[in-house]
């Protein structure tokens, strides 16, 4: 009985920590990346890859998905994310992340990977908008030497948060029967008479 309970604890803790990433991880080449494996239940009806492509295009216009993706090759694309300095009341663009996105599918699971994470500082241009400083780009591993600790922590947090959000939206989309996203998915039907 004790063993069963302990096993249950271990399972619950691991299942909980499996839910989402809290940090970037180092890959085989010692490069920082976002990596998240998600399991799917046997009963989940997966959306075909072409419709997943459309979902990404619609929800994430700053991600360019490569054409002619197959289920075997997964989904590949390149994306950008604006990183902000958040003040007490207002924020301001400070940098831009560029990344390679890859989503692979396997039996009962899929994974979301963002690699080649590169930071480009932004500067204000003549039109009052912010654009990358020409020719300056740092791999994410170099960034701690280039920006303050607080900036690095803030940027990393924004990056992880962004991919967790994408990951969650993708999960909801993939596992919804009719391929709807979280916003439009049919709500679960319940009975208020029996409880």
């Amino acid at each position: 009985m004790k063993n069963i309970i302990l096993a249950l604890i271990v399972f619950l803790v691991s299942a909980h920590s499996y839910a989402q990433s809290t940090a970037l991880v180092l890959n085989d080449n010692d490069k920082l990346m976002y990596y998240q494996v998600n399991s799917l239940s046997l009963g989940d009806t997966l959306q075909p890859v072409p419709t997943v492509n459309e979902f990404i295009k619609k929800k994430y216009p700053d991600i360019r998905i490569a054409k002619n993706q197959s289920e075997a090759a997964g989904i590949q694309g390149k994306g950008r994310l604006t990183l902000y300095h958040k003040g007490l009341v207002f924020g301001q663009e400070e940098g831009q992340l560029s990344f390679d996105l890859k989503i692979d599918f396997k039996e009962e699971k899929y994974r979301v990977m963002a690699s080649n994470l590169t930071f480009m500082p932004l500067q204000r241009n003549r039109y009052g908008t912010f654009t990358p400083v020409n020719g300056i780009a740092y791999a994410w591993e170099e960034l701690p030497k280039k920006v303050k600790d607080t900036q690095y922590e803030s940027y990393t947090s924004q990056v992880v948060n962004y991919f967790n959000y994408l990951n969650k939206q993708l999960e909801v989309y993939l596992t919804s029967n009719d391929g709807q996203d979280a916003k439009t998915a049919n709500p679960q039907r319940i009975s208020t008479k029996e409880w």
């Binding site: 619950l12 989402q20 902000y84 003549r126 039109y127 020719g135």
Partner: protein, 352 residues
């Protein structure tokens, strides 16, 4: 006892997990700053080495000699939501009012540097309308956008703003084309007759760090300017910029041409040194002077500038030497004409 303890731990974890599952459904979206506020404040001291109160060198801004003077307070707001963007940028002070923008009909300044709305029609095509900083030239009005504090002759005599409607199509990240129609005169909130100045800009980025803009602005009332603005971040520390332009006044009655080079070297993240070398010629035979350069005359100007940065503050000491080839507009301290003029400027610019 142990069993009860374990069971309560399990129950607690279960309740935590249930709670965690609820919250994962509402992972906060990536930070959206809402309204972005940006701007700058600048002030300077300028010494004309001839001791002249009316400074010899008459390019834009930093033009009050032997005085601690103010530039401007520049305040901008920006918001982009989905496909729509607006920018409103107001400026107050000599640099941000009569030295760079027109007054309204009642002779009061509207204080507007940028006021426009943009919309992404597709992923690649954008349309923008309003009163916008010009797309022509290397230097800009806001001091945070320039390395040197004093400005070039090419900047001073080119357009500052163009009001109009423009479309920009991005073929790739490395090539884009802008074309638009602008008010018949430069630097006006309202056209004199119509919206008839044609403007176009081809942007190419042939290699990483190198961007070039080929600009054309042509109208019956405003004249025609052809401009090349390019910069190349050759190494992380060394950058080279170039601006070349030729302008023909309406009816070919005059104009200017010139070229400026901008080598800059970053000693560290906080200290950078830069030189601006410029050649500028007033092409007119009989029309008026341009920044005090007489018709038919040319000027060669060298400006050596340092940028010392700490946070948002940039401290800019600068020495400048201008030399004209003939018909000198410059005077010595004794009032006699001379072909050379020199000045020292030290400025403080805070950008946010």
């Amino acid at each position: 006892m142990k069993k009860s303890l374990l069971l309560s731990v399990v129950l607690s974890l279960c309740s935590l997990l249930t709670h965690a599952q609820d919250t994962t459904k509402v992972i906060p979206a990536p930070i959206d700053p809402g309204l972005t506020i940006f701007g700058s404040v600048d002030t300077y001291y300028k010494l004309d080495f001839a001791g002249k109160k009316n400074a010899n060198i008459q390019t834009s801004f930093a033009n009050e000699a032997n005085s601690v003077s103010i530039g401007m307070v520049d305040l901008g707001v920006k918001k982009k939501y989905n496909k729509a963007l607006f920018v409103g940028e107001l400026s107050f002070g000599p640099r941000g009012q009569y030295q760079s923008i027109p007054n309204g009909p009642d002779e009061n300044s509207f204080h507007i540097q940028n006021l426009y709305i943009g919309y992404d029609l597709t992923r690649k095509l954008n349309v923008t309308a309003g009163y916008m900083a010009t797309f022509v030239g290397y230097e800009i009005i806001a001091p945070v956008g320039n390395f040197n504090y004093s400005t070039s002759y090419l900047f001073t005599n080119g357009p500052f703003q163009n009001a109009g409607l423009k479309f920009t199509y991005a073929f790739t990240d490395k090539v884009s084309l802008m074309a638009g129609l602008f008010n018949d005169n430069w630097n006006v909130y309202e056209s004199k007759r119509d919206v008839s100045t044609f403007g176009a800009q081809l942007m190419v980025s042939p290699v990483k760090g190198w961007t070039a803009y080929f600009n054309l602005l042509s109208g019956k009332l405003s004249g025609t300017e052809l401009d090349l603005t390019t910069s190349y971040q050759i190494t992380e520390k060394f950058k080279m910029g170039l601006n070349g332009a030729t302008f023909s006044s309406p009816d070919q009655s005059g104009g200017f041409s010139g070229v400026a080079l901008y080598p800059q070297y970053a000693i560290s993240g906080a200290v950078a040194l830069g030189l601006r070398g410029e050649y500028f010629k007033n092409k007119s035979a009989s029309q008026g002077a341009l920044s005090a350069i007489a018709p038919g005359s040319s000027v060669t100007a060298f400006t050596f500038t340092a940028n010392l940065k700490t946070g948002g503050l940039t401290f800019i000491p600068e020495i400048r030497l201008d030399n004209v080839n003939k018909a000198s507009p410059f005077v010595k301290s004794n009032g006699q004409p001379t072909k050379t003029a020199s000045q020292f400027v030290v400025a403080a610019v805070y950008g946010f």
